[in-house]
Amino acid sequence: MAEGTSPKEKKEKKNRVRMPEQDPQVRARNFLEVPTGYTPEMAKEEAARCLQCKNPGCVDGCPVGIDIPGFIKLAKEGDFTQSIRNVWTQNSLPAICGRVCPQETQCEGKCILAKKGEPVAIGNLERFVADWERAHGSGALPPKAAPTGKRVAVVGAGPAGLTVAGDLIQKGHEVTVFEAFHKPGGVLLYGIPEFRLPKEIVAQEVNFLERLGVKVQCNAVVGRTVTLDELFEEGYQAIFLGLGAGLPKFMNIPGENLIGVLSANEYLTRANLMKAYLFPKVDTPIPRGKDVVVLGGGNVAMDSARTALRLGADRVRLVYRRSRDEMPARAAEAHHAEEEGIEFFLLTNPTRYIGNEKGRLTGMECIKMELGEPDASGRRRPVPVKGSEFELSCDLCIVAVGTGANPLLTSSTPDLKINKWGYIEADSKDGKTFKKGVWAGGDIVTGSATVILAMGAGRTAANSIHDYLMRGW
């Protein structure tokens, strides 16, 4: 068959419907969401691009196995009410996933249309139906199984924990989520900025779970306020640990404790959870750098850089030790960052921070890197170029070079087995840990990954917990 001649082929070539976005010059100075969302017409038009494959690759590419052709078909027909209910059967947090999933490497990466052109905008459609339900929906809840009388404790109200809570409440169990912070959401709240994921949406997704019957107890530092064994004594029959990877990594180079060097965790927590960008209307301050350097090349680095810009920086430079191709950030984030004027300093690594007599950061010394042989991650290892040191000026440096396992709970629970990096050992097929009645999933098992992978791990664990509650360990 000759390529590109059949009427079917022509239909495939129809371009993806772009989601409108705020202008880069405008949005770089505000905290409003960047993409503004589809209209119902746009959603129907985009949904019509889906070929409704018999063996859809997109579903295989989704860590929680959403019936993607199914919900898109309903959207195409304009039945948004049923469309979102279809998504809910596999995903309790669609408004979030539609916004923050790396669709290009998951569902959309497997879309048949991607072979010849642009894949169906699955993420945009998921976001649209979730937003439509919030704005216009009946609020009717999905069906819930009869009460089983079993009680489950979920530790950590992030994506993994909320997924477990959503799944198990629908299966008829009693679920309480314990959260160390004063508000639920985990990384969705403290990590991802308002302009990428409005906090109102996180609050509404949590509220949806609460309406289903999930109890959320904030300010509960499990391991300190209450231990796992005490939760069992209180009558919880199963515990899920979705603690996240909340230990910031630093560069361990001279001058790191100068004022003006912050972990991305601290910077983003101040900005997002504490809403310090509204200071002094709120009481938590945040350093407003004029000349900002962000270290790292992931989503957190992009979020930090774009936040700095919105807090009034004249210049924001992102220093990353590998090349553009190895950047772990979601493509859309790196693209948005560049559009807004963030400068990328690639193949560059800092060697020391420079400060003044008051202990405040004034600059840093960096060295040029080149790519050598591939390392354990399969990416080419960056090696320093001798004698290529140079200085950068900066008054704020945000360190976004990854996170590790927070030992707060594991150190107080010796019968949980952890690996050499401090992550909890859990069976990848069901999430079971070495402690009876305890499951774990998300970043505390795998190290920092994505929201959707944490949700996938939550889904797996929830199925296993349900099995255990009904049939035994």
Binding site: H182, N219, R224, E266, D283, K358, G359, L408
Partner: protein, 280 residues
Amino acid sequence: MFKIVKREEMSQGTVVLNEIEAPLIAKKAKPGQFVILKANETGERIPLTMAYTDPEKGIIAVIYQVVGKSTALFKTLKVGEGYQDVIGPLGKPTHVENIGKVVCVGGGTGVAVMHPITRAMKQAGNHVIAIIGARTKDLLILEDFMRAASHELHVCTDDGSYGRHGFVTHALKDILDKEKIDQVVAIGPVPMMKFVSKLTQEYNVPTLVSLNPIMVDGTGMCGGCRVSVGGKTQFACVDGPEFDGHKVDFDELMRRLQAYCEEEKMCHNEFCMLEESWHK
């Protein structure tokens, strides 16, 4: 809400005591541990080491000095009102064992934190000498409590208005010159802890200090509270708050405490102006 059940002003209103209903924390808390308090929706998370707890009544007590916007806001909270959020107990408890003769040095509001540690040291069988100090007599707190918690109490004021005229380090030096001390615990303003540690190093007496750097979450997540101890970076919230005073880089800590001084001024001034306008 975490209700305030008792409230007292000390030191001419510059220091405030709150007893707060927090049964889960009261049950778990040990001397040396801290809580994080947040007054309301827009409030800041402020770490304060607990002064005492009553597990039976489900009460924890904090004593704080009014220094900025957030503590000024705390001060406006009356009995029956409360904190929106109280998180804890956080940090490692003080290591208490019977080692012989212990000197507990408390300065300013540090005396409040020193009190439960002093009592625990005495209960563990140590001979406990306590030294407390303040700038002037009216600022001195918990003298009677500290007398009861120790075997002997020395009181100093910087201006000589009460007790011994001089700094706590002077009283400590006299003791160190006179007898063999096995352990010193010092809690108070950073310069006080620095000079106590400097002094005890000369006498080779192990010294614990309790640090209160700027922090956000208090669970090891933000790294804002990092301090250099023996050349290594530690997080005060999870690795501390108590550290070996001979190894702490106090000068760095003092500088880091100034990180937000401009913002604090701005915020506090605005709050004071608001308060004034209410009164008018």
